[in-house]
Amino acid sequence: MVDPLMDLSLAPETATHSLAREEALRVERLSISFGGLRAVDDLSFAVRKKEIFGLIGPNGAGKTTVFNCITQFYRPDEGNVFFRAGKGRAERVVNLVGQPVHSIIGLGLVRTFQNVEIIQELSLLENVLIGAHIDFKATAFEQAFKLPRALREERSFRKKAEEALAFLGIAGRRDLPAGGQPYGVLKKVELARTLMANPRLIILDEPAAGLNDSETQELSSTIYQIRDVYDCTILLVEHDMHLVMGVCDRICAISFGKFLACDAPEEIKRNKLVQEAYLGEEEV
């Protein structure tokens, strides 16, 4: 069998089927259409290791769609997403396209959601524990009979979850049900949940949406801390320009699913194409 990806004559576009040494994620010529509308159109960008990378664009630019294509909630029509999975010796480059959605987290790629997706009936701690789902090895039988391995796992992951909650400063609420907690707290719970998965790359979908000014302030320092303490790369979509410009190392701007520019925040601010895209939005 010939690997079609290795055979350059068969697939000339995928000639760069590997990541440069400093890259953590590369989106390559990504396209997806919904009923004739091209939501993402031939988009390419690369995120470097330990970078805080922003994806911006006017409303309806297709930012969340890009995230959904990376995490395989949507199957892109064309293009590839190469990702540096695993740590240490297990490190390898994987093409995410075509992988089952639930296997993405196992590669070290975790995401949050635009509208927090939290289980109302569970406590904050239990919600965070869901982030460790794939690390549990005990079988259903062992869990139902509370055999030693199940007990041991539950104990150690509970400790880890408590640490994650403490890291984000909400340890005191760990046993309260998520339903009825303030939005800001739930956003932190979602963050804590991603931390449980030993992530290599965290995707934050509008982390500041619904937060007040002081919470947004706190968020930017939290993002730095997460990157440094948990040693991971961060890719975020955000509407709050202040936050994006402040926290991101580099930014990719898109409009109507098309690439506009990818550069340092100051350059992006000065970029004519980006300015036009945003101005156009204000006029409408």
Partner: protein, 351 residues
């Protein structure tokens, strides 16, 4: 539990009553002591039958609560799988001469395999369509019970005697104890299962499918787990039924039974183990044990069922979280206080 940390005494010696296991065992002991009452003439002997019925149906209801309450998937197929469990158990013991344990295993495993198939279907079909698709499976089973004379006895039904376990022939009271033991075990295992990783995954699947998937929960796998568990519980319930009632008729396993199991779950409260037991009691025992005892109205044929129906409607209208929800809303503080007092004075009292 945690609230007792405030009391210095309690932090030294946590109240043993906070252990769910002790409460499950107490529940079991309490239920198991009922035949003594009936033996000493304090309780009518027929009452034991009604309570036994509640225990049997509670097993199926717990299974449906796992499916509906935790996984958020609906099924109207409970009756069909209960029936299947009962006929397989009866056939295995009576016609094949298998032992009780072999019969029980077969009666649970075979329906569970069919339950797995429904789990597969559930990936494609959702909501009300899924509910009626499971009803479809149940009706196929029901029609087959009526037609497959050689196995099920057709319309005449199938009879079986009390079980023989390890050479010991059971009678009504000891079979009743068997039901208690089975239900208590099921309660404990369910409690453990839902509070662990697999249970949380079911929660996640119900609460947010996208979050569940993003956290690595394989939807297919967990739908299969949820449906096979609910089916296994229903089949176990059916097998216990046939060993306790000693008969299985096709007319028992119809849509109404599935609907009543569903009613028991919703009335008792989703995601509540004791609530499920209470709901089952309300649906199956209250008409005969409580309402029939009422002066005047209890004597009129049919009236207890009317009251029960009205009760079901009232609970739904005024306590949409079920009886357990009502309980939690009314008594959260009282219970904490009581536990604290108990811990300090050392006085122990059953809730």
């Amino acid at each position: 539990m945690n609230e007792m940390n405030e009391s210095p005494l309690a932090s030294l010696k946590p109240s043993p009553w906070s252990s769910p296991y002790l409460r499950f065992v107490l529940f079991g002991l309490l239920a198991a002591s009922l035949p003594l009452l009936s033996g000493s003439g304090l309780m009518k002997s027929s009452t034991l039958n009604y309570i036994g019925n509640v225990l049997v149906y509670a097993v199926a209801a717990l299974g449906l609560n796992l499916l509906l309450g935790y996984a958020g998937l609906i099924s109207l197929g409970t009756a069909g799988f209960m029936g299947l469990g009962s006929y397989i158990a009866a056939y295995a013991v009576k016609d094949m001469g298998l032992s009780f344990w072999a019969a029980l295993t077969a009666a649970v495993l075979i329906p569970t395999l069919i339950g797995l198939l429904i789990g597969l279907i559930s990936l494609r079909i959702e909501g009300i369509y899924l509910a009626i698709a499971t009803l479809c499976v149940s009706e196929i089973l029901l029609k087959s019970f009526e037609q497959a004379d050689s196995i099920t006895g057709g319309m005449q039904g199938k009879s079986v005697s009390y079980p023989v376990i390890f050479g010991h022939t059971f009678n009504r009271s000891s079979t009743y104890i068997l039901l208690v033991v089975a239900l208590t075990l099921v309660m404990i295992l369910t409690h453990n299962f839902v509070s662990g990783q697999k249970g949380r995954a079911l929660h996640a699947m119900r609460g947010s499918e996208v979050a569940a998937q993003a956290m690595g929960v394989n939807l297919l796998q967990y739908r299969l787990i949820a449906f096979s568990l609910a089916t296994a519980y229903a089949a176990l319930s059916g097998a216990l039924y046939v060993f306790f009632i000693k008969f299985s008729y096709p007319s028992v396993w119809n849509l109404n039974l599935s609907l009543y199991v569903l009613a028991a779950v919703v009335i008792g409260g989703l995601r509540s183990i004791y609530g499920t037991i209470i709901g089952t009691f309300v649906v199956w025992a209250v008409p005969d044990l409580v309402l029939k005892k009422l002066p005047v109205v209890g004597g009129i044929n049919g009236l207890p069922y009317i009251f029960n129906g009205i009760l079901i409607i009232l609970v739904v209208m005024f306590a949409p979280q079920g009886i357990s929800g009502l309980w939690q809303a009314k008594f959260p503080l009282k219970r904490k206080k009581k536990e604290k007092e108990e811990a300090i004075s050392g006085k122990k009292e059953d809730e």
